[in-house]
């Protein structure tokens, strides 16, 4: 469902849609942050199984509970406010379950799944919005008939069925987080053999392929405009062919396949050969047997022709990255590192096994006020120490000196699977909110007056309403989020009760004020920043234009602009 709506908006990548998406995500960030402050701890920890609630949040939760208990009379107005608030009564105290049942009052039953699934769908939409401007995969496939026919069919089918309806939200979430584990992913990076050959190989933009199913094959060959290889949606698995704009690459050069948990490469009768770690796989125009490949292997396509003076006569050297999915999802190590980053300078009583040392200078990275650099593999160094490797001739490619994982430093910021990050951020924000709320409620009233039975109500009156306002705001946000989404997916059909007020609420969400929240939110991404980041990404691809080594790539992951072929 979401793919369909996303694709319709793609061809005109112009502002209204994308800005709406952006506002969406802002909104989401807000609702996540704020609402979770009042959500029960359970909902947070159920979203993030590995996030054990810290003792700090524990105490604040009980604190809030206590403060409400001794003063029933002050709760009375609060309750009335609750019920008078438009959507529902249980929202303020809600967990996810409650929210879904509530929204089912106002919307058809299938929508209820969606509202609790919004964040999930959002992630999709956002990642999709990141590639705006490129033609959608679906369209590309229908227009180009000579695209590979075997595999994409089931793949496309599964994606176009509206999944929220038949899958319960929890399963869907788990399925998403497990995806990298089940699917076979391979990445191709350009490799420059700086030690042995003088001539640079063909530069290309790194490619990632995640097989939709194990029987799929990644075909590699010469790119040609005529074949018009469709651009796969990077958020979805794909086995789209990989094309290189070099004359030494045959149209059908080699294939990568995933058999029994192992990646293999096979020459499919190329004329100038496929080389695996310098070994030629087959005679010219002969099909080779399968050769197993592993992470870090170098696959070379063809041999430089005419000295490789011109770009289109250069061979292609690919560095393979596979079987690294374990590194790209939460694991012991990168969670540890995240911990480290979050607690920098807050006292050093936690043991960050394995990530306390900069492997370049062997000094500690734990001290605050140092410039640090963290790679995608969660290894951390001092910026000063690692900068040599960052600003190497290979830039934007960066190889981790600890684990040899390659990172494309110019890659667009991948926020597609930030589910747990967001949740975590929400959790930390909730800690902040509660901290703030507690200080609001307690410092003026509780601290000076030990016996808070009689004295509490006046104090409550000053602090409570704000909180309740907040709660109602949150309710509205919550519901509006669901409604907005439904409005979107149904292309503003009639069943959404208040699509017009949504903009109002959006505005409200931006100006919502949380007592004491602003000053104490170091870990919380302000709305401006998230939108800023997203706004930046298209710009970056233009800057790569200035770099002669990175040809502009408008039409495909491996399609280069016409300059090379023109000559």
């Amino acid at each position: 469902m979401e793919t369909a709506t996303a694709s319709t908006s793609f061809p005109d990548s112009s502002s209204p849609r994308s800005s709406r998406l952006r506002r969406f995500s802002q909104l989401r960030a807000y609702t996540q942050n704020i609402s979770s402050g009042h959500r029960s701890r359970n909902s947070i920890s159920s979203r993030v199984p590995w996030l054990s609630p810290s003792p700090g949040t524990d105490s604040t939760v009980t604190q809030v509970g206590n403060s409400t208990a001794p003063c029933p009379e002050s709760d009375q107005p609060a309750l009335s406010r609750y019920t008078s608030a438009p959507p529902s009564s249980s929202y303020g105290l809600s967990i996810d379950q409650a929210s879904s049942t509530d929204s089912s009052h106002s919307t058809p039953p299938n929508e209820s799944h969606q509202s609790s699934r919004t964040s999930n769908v959002m992630a999709r939409l956002r990642s999709a919005s990141a590639v705006q401007g490129r033609p959608p995969r679906n369209l590309g496939q229908t227009t180009t008939s000579d695209a590979p026919t075997s595999s994409p069919e089931p793949f496309a089918a599964t994606n176009e069925t509206p999944e929220p309806i038949d899958t319960p939200p929890n399963d869907a979430q788990e399925g998403d987080s497990n995806q990298p584990k089940q699917k076979a992913t391979i990445r191709f990076f350009p490799y420059q053999d700086s030690y042995q050959s003088s001539r640079p190989s063909l530069p290309f933009v790194p490619v990632t392929r995640t097989l939709p199913s194990e029987s799929c094959v990644v075909r590699v060959g010469r790119y040609s405009e005529r074949d018009g290889i469709p651009i796969p949606n990077p958020a979805e698995p794909s086995d789209a062919p990989v094309g290189f704009k070099s004359k030494v690459v045959s149209r059908k050069h080699c294939e990568f396949m995933f058999i029994n948990g192992q990646w293999h490469v096979k020459d499919v009768g190329s004329s100038s050969g496929t080389f695996l770690n310098h070994m030629r796989l087959s005679q010219p125009n002969m099909v080779s047997r399968l050769y197993s490949i592993k992470d870090g292997d170098i696959v070379q396509l063809g041999i430089d022709f005419r000295g490789g003076e011109e770009m289109i006569f250069r061979c292609v050297r690919i560095r393979i990255e596979c079987n690294r999915s374990w590194q790209q999802q939460p694991n012991e190590f990168n969670k540890n590192t995240e911990n480290l980053i979050q607690n920098l300078g807050k006292g050093d009583n936690v043991d960050y096994a394995g990530c306390r040392e900069c492997s370049i200078c062997l000094g500690s990275v734990l001290r605050p006020y140092q410039c640090l650099f963290m790679a995608a593999c969660a290894h951390v160094w001092h910026y000063k120490c690692i900068s040599r490797l960052l600003h190497s001739p290979d830039y934007p490619m960066f190889q981790c000196p600890n684990c040899r994982a390659f990172t494309d430093l110019s890659a667009e910021v991948d926020d597609s699977n930030d589910q747990d990050v967001e949740a975590k951020r929400a959790a930390s924000a909730s800690a902040n909110v509660q901290e703030a709320a507690r200080s609001e409620t307690r410092t003026p009233a509780d601290v000076p007056v030990p016996n808070n039975d009689g004295q509490q109500p006046p104090a409550q009156e000053t602090s409570r309403p704000e909180e309740i306002e907040l709660v109602t705001d949150v309710e509205n946000l919550h519901l509006q989020e669901g409604q907005l989404l439904s409005a979107d997916t149904e292309s503003r059909s009639s069943n959404s009760p208040a699509p017009d007020s949504s903009s109002n609420d959006l505005a409200r969400s931006a100006t919502i004020n949380i007592p004491g929240f602003q000053p104490t939110q170091p870990l919380n991404v302000p709305p401006g920043r998230s939108s800023h980041l997203r706004a930046d990404t298209p710009v970056r691809s233009e800057t790569s234009d200035d770099n002669p080594l990175t040809p502009r790539n408008d039409s495909g992951p491996l399609a280069f602009d016409g300059r090379a072929t023109m000559q």
Binding site: S359, I360, G363, L389, P401, N402
Partner: protein
């Protein structure tokens, strides 16, 4: 030359808790970049009871460039050149294999490991490697002989 701190750190570490059979010191107290390493021939190898002097030179770009390891003591080994240089071929020291996160301690331990288990497939002395593979008895004999002659 930002590497001095790291080198000094590694040196102290190695001097304070040296790996088995290895002692480390600076060849010249004034030069941090040249180390003198004394390595005992590992037990069970033909080099047992030999004491081998190794010169370890760190490039200015260390740790981004690998150190070079050479045997000052003559040794009969397929992975060590049989000349007055005595350069040693260690896989992890090849420029494309080297990782800045590798430490000198690891390099030395790897070198010692290579004494007990030569890698004839990765040899620089092809003749010795061939002998090691095909005529192990003879190889052991010569190696022991050289150890007695040069390294004791």
């Amino acid at each position: 030359m930002g590497s001095q701190k790291r080198i000094a750190k590694e040196l102290t570490e190695l001097v304070e808790s040296p790996p088995a059979g290895i002692t480390v010191k600076l060849a010249d107290e004034a030069n941090l970049y040249e180390w003198k390493v004394l390595m005992d021939g590992p037990e069970g190898s033909p080099y047992h009871k030999g004491k081998f002097q190794i010169k370890l030179v760190l490039p200015n770009e260390y740790p981004f460039k690998p150190p070079t390891v050479s045997f000052a003591t003559k040794i009969y080994h397929p992975n060590v050149t049989n000349d007055d240089k005595g350069s040693m071929c260690l896989g992890m020291l090849r420029p494309d294999e080297w990782k800045p996160s590798s430490k000198i301690g690891a390099v030395l331990e790897f070198a010692r490991q290579l004494l007990s288990e030569p890698m004839p497939d990765d040899a620089i002395e092809g003749r010795i490697a061939e002998q090691y593979k095909n005529d192990r008895k003879h190889f052991d004999e010569v190696a022991r002989d050289w150890t007695r002659k040069h390294a004791s």
